[in-house]
Amino acid sequence: MTPTIIQAGTAAAARVDQTFLLIFGVSAAILVFITLLMVWFVFRYHHARHPQAADIRGNVWAEIAWTVIPTVLVMGMFWSGWTSFKALRSAPADAMRVKVTARMWSWVFEYENGRRASTLYVPVDRAVRLDMTSADVLHSFFVPAFRIKMDTVPGMETYAWFQAEREGSYDILCAEYCGLQHANMLSTVEVVSAEEFKRWSESGAGGDEEAVGLLETYGCMGCHSLDGSEEAGPTLMGIYGKERPIVDGGGTRTVVADEEYLRRAILEPDAELVAGYEGMPSYKEEMPAEDLEKIIRFLTGGAARDLDRGRSLMEAEGCLSCHSTDGSEIAGPTFKGIYGHKVVLEDGTEVVADEAYLAEAIRDPEKTMVKGYEPIMPPYSHLNDEDVKAMIDYMRSLPEGHD
């Protein structure tokens, strides 16, 4: 196929394209032939030009010809199609293995080292075998550029394989209808160099990078260092838990820089200014709660990592394809403001979405289903306590929302 369609990204795909060309070529020739013949006959044998029809009822040789010739042609197509299919099915034994789990409506890719991701990172020029299954209904793993498509079937393992020839980003689409968000069950194959893949494979989840990025974005780093050096404002290194002298009326008092204090110091800095420094602008209007929480988690140390981990776990497990974090409704209730709020269950009882409830809702959703939603969420009983805690911490960091 031409580059304007989608260039074949693997050798097997190029083999499939040969079959496409063969069938399209022969078909186009037949179609043009038949159409032109019809048009010509209608013109040539129009009753005005050909008032008396000939008496022809058939011809055995013609029948044999247009039985045998199409038979030969289609058998050629069959064979070409079959051999290209074999190329798509013959995964090399030494292929890198990735487990694929499809669920409404996201993909989970699990690597041999246990790393889980919602995007399929693979090294270039390396055969990759995908062992696939589904957690709920049928889905179909489709990468147009690699000409591969395979259904994922609950209770059954299917496979596909590819060996990408070029680095780049290739669309993954779900090709088997799977309900409400079928059209949004998208991801990408990120084909990267072997070195980059190694780096990615060995790294953990995002880390503190995002929070540091936020500090830069909001201009905090202009006055506050992260390395202990003093600038216009106090350094942020080790600030959590320190005692701070605060300007209070004429004198000073001491507060402990706990989570609450840090929050106040960002939103209303002039109310409790640390002695010896000039004022700082308030971020009350400017900084959304989500960003504030990320920064707070970062400043309070290890918790920051958990928060990011919670978010990326939820991405990898596919939670966020049904539950939004911004208050909008997808297929399940939004996570925004869910922590600590009352929810109504299927049987009409009201419970407060506390840590215990949320943990159960993740592991055994059938029993804890919120009223008004389709009972389609699969149980996530494979998650350990630490993972669940990280997820709940992340939910807690999305405070403002509905009642």
């Binding site: 499939v16 011809n59 197509m77 290209s84 079928h182």
Partner: protein
């Protein structure tokens, strides 16, 4: 002195028997055929309206006029209405009922009461299908294929919809049974198998598929219903069932059903081409036998819908091979039709235009089917817009245009009036143009990887979707023009004679419209159906 039944046109009431009940309880095959015709055309209008709304939603990525749930219900309804309520009963139940006894010189079908009962089943199924939209958990959102386990988990009103399909299936089975018996037992004494019109041959082949394959659909949807009700675990792997089993059962019916849809249209084309060509059909036996060959071989190719399902590679090999085998009789038919035009004396009337449109569009659909039969290429285009384009070319371009051709061909026979020829010709150009503009871009975006049943799509597919949506407007303009051209001529005096086209099959020896009672005595002479020497036009 002939009775009123032998002189009063079947559309007019007999003395003392008039009103709605003289239609809905009629056992006259012609009246039953007309009941089907009005019903299927109504369902066609519903299906088209839904299709146009879907195309409008897809004109741009993201939400345009409806949400995802509404869209998912729409494509389900479009499929169910078009497949089960329009296309499958379409030509056989409407035109087959009206014409089969007339073409073989019979008084009626073998079981006239069973015939009206079939229509009542159809009506019941149609009403239940429509009811499922407004009751229970909302309109079904599974697609017309009801694939498990999704169809067992969704809380929408799938149970009622599958009951509707179950009942519709019986309508189809009983019609098939009736036609087979009629063709075997009630042919005029002189009508040997070799003199059977090709439309009757096509109905015969279709009837066998209806009779043998439809029960499998009944069983399948009944199992889905039971599974939803009792959760006994036939198809749901969470309960020890097998989702692939469902797909096999579903397609064991639903692929042959494609031939229920297309073979009667092939029969229509085989009638029209010689009539407007003034020349015998080329290769009568080849066309008749290929109908049977399609019916037989077409029953063995169902799993070509499942190359990506996870079934064994061996099964892929076998079903890919058999799929290419079934392409051969279709090709034979096309070549014979084209050869019939050779050295004819052609009158390019609207029925012939639609028949030629059929050949072109069906050829595009059939040839792109080769891409789907070939295992390697099917993997790429399976469940994409390429498939959507392919089956619309076959089913709408084929069966739809076949139905339009039949409507124009037999309109004067049924109504005793001629349609507006200019509007019919104009509608043909709009329909052909709009059709290709609507469906051809789908081949391209399908090759680019656009999956079907997508409410939303990536920006790279937008150009194709936009052209396609614009094409749907042209197509609708064509449909409006065509139905206007037909319906404006439904009033006024009946002026058409017995045989406006000079065709040679038996229905053209009767008045237009035929009287209530026809062929009380079988015709003395049965001519060869495509021998035009000595046949006089009677406009």
């Amino acid at each position: 002195m002939p009775s009123p039944g032998e002189t009063v046109p079947f559309l007019d009431p007999l003395p003392g028997r008039s009103g709605l009940t003289s239609w809905i309880f009629s056992t006259d095959h012609k009246r039953i055929g007309m009941l089907y015709l009005w019903c299927i055309l109504t369902m066609f209008a519903v299906g088209v309206a839904i299709g146009v709304l879907m195309r409008l939603e897809l004109i741009a990525p993201g939400r345009t006029i409806m949400g995802a749930q509404a869209y998912n219900a729409m494509f389900t309804l479009h499929g169910v209405v078009m497949v089960f309520l329009f296309v499958i009963p379409g030509i056989p139940a409407a035109f087959g009922n009206i014409l089969l006894p007339l073409q073989i010189g019979a008084e009626d079908v073998s079981f006239p009461r069973l015939n009206i009962f079939s229509w009542w089943l159809y009506l019941t199924g149609a009403v239940l299908a429509v009811t499922s939209l407004f009751t229970g958990g909302g309109p079904p959102d599974t697609g017309w294929t009801f694939y498990v386990p999704f169809s067992e988990r969704t809380t929408t009103n799938v149970s009622l919809a599958v009951v509707a399909v179950f009942i519709l299936g019986f309508s189809s089975i009983l019609t098939g049974l009736n036609f087979i018996t009629t063709i075997h037992r009630l042919r005029a004494p002189q009508m040997s198998w070799g003199k059977l019109p090709l439309f009757v041959w096509s109905l015969y082949a279709t009837a066998w598929i209806q009779l043998l394959a439809t029960p499998v659909l009944g069983v399948t949807v009944a199992l889905v219903f039971i599974e939803r009700l009792l959760g006994i675990g036939l198809f749901d792997p969470a309960k020890g069932g097998d989702p692939l089993l469902y797909q096999h059962l579903f397609w064991i019916y639903s692929h042959p059903a494609v031939y229920i849809m297309i073979v009667p249209a092939m029969g229509v084309v085989s009638e029209i081409i010689p009539a407007f060509d003034r020349k015998s059909i080329f290769g009568y036996k080849a066309i008749a036998v290929s109908s049977l060959a399609i019916a037989f071989a077409g029953s063995l190719v169902w799993a070509h819908h499942m190359f990506t399902s996870g079934m064994s590679d061996t099964a892929v090999l076998v079903f890919s091979f058999l799929t290419f085998v079934v392409a051969i009789p279709s090709a034979i038919k096309v070549f014979n039709w084209v050869a019939t035009l050779y050295k004819g004396s052609i009158y390019l009337e609207p029925p012939l235009l639609f028949a030629l449109g059929f050949i072109f569009l069906f050829s595009v659909g059939g040839l792109t089917g080769l891409v789907l039969g070939s295992a390697g290429t099917d993997i790429h285009v399976h469940d994409t817009y390429f498939v959507v384009a392919h089956f619309h070319y076959v089913i709408f371009g084929g069966t739809g245009f076949g139905l339009f051709a039949a409507m124009h061909f037999w309109f004067p026979k049924i109504f005793g009036r001629m349609y507006d020829r200019k509007l019919a010709n104009a509608s043909w150009y709009l329909l052909i143009g709009g059709f290709n503009m609507l469906y051809f871009p789908m081949f391209l975006i399908g090759l680019m990887g656009m999956p079907r049943r997508y409410y939303d799509y990536l920006p790279m597919y937008q150009t194709g979707h936009m052209i396609s949506t614009a094409g749907s407007w042209v197509l609708v303009a064509g449909l409006v023009t065509m139905f206007w051209g037909l319906s404006k001529c439904l009033r006024g005096p009946r002026t058409v004679g017995r045989n406006p086209w000079g065709a040679a099959t038996l229905e053209w020896t009767l008045p237009s419209p035929p009287p209530h009672l026809t062929f009380l005595d079988p015709p003395d002479e049965v001519p060869s159906p495509y021998s035009y020497a000595g046949v006089k036009r009677d406009a």
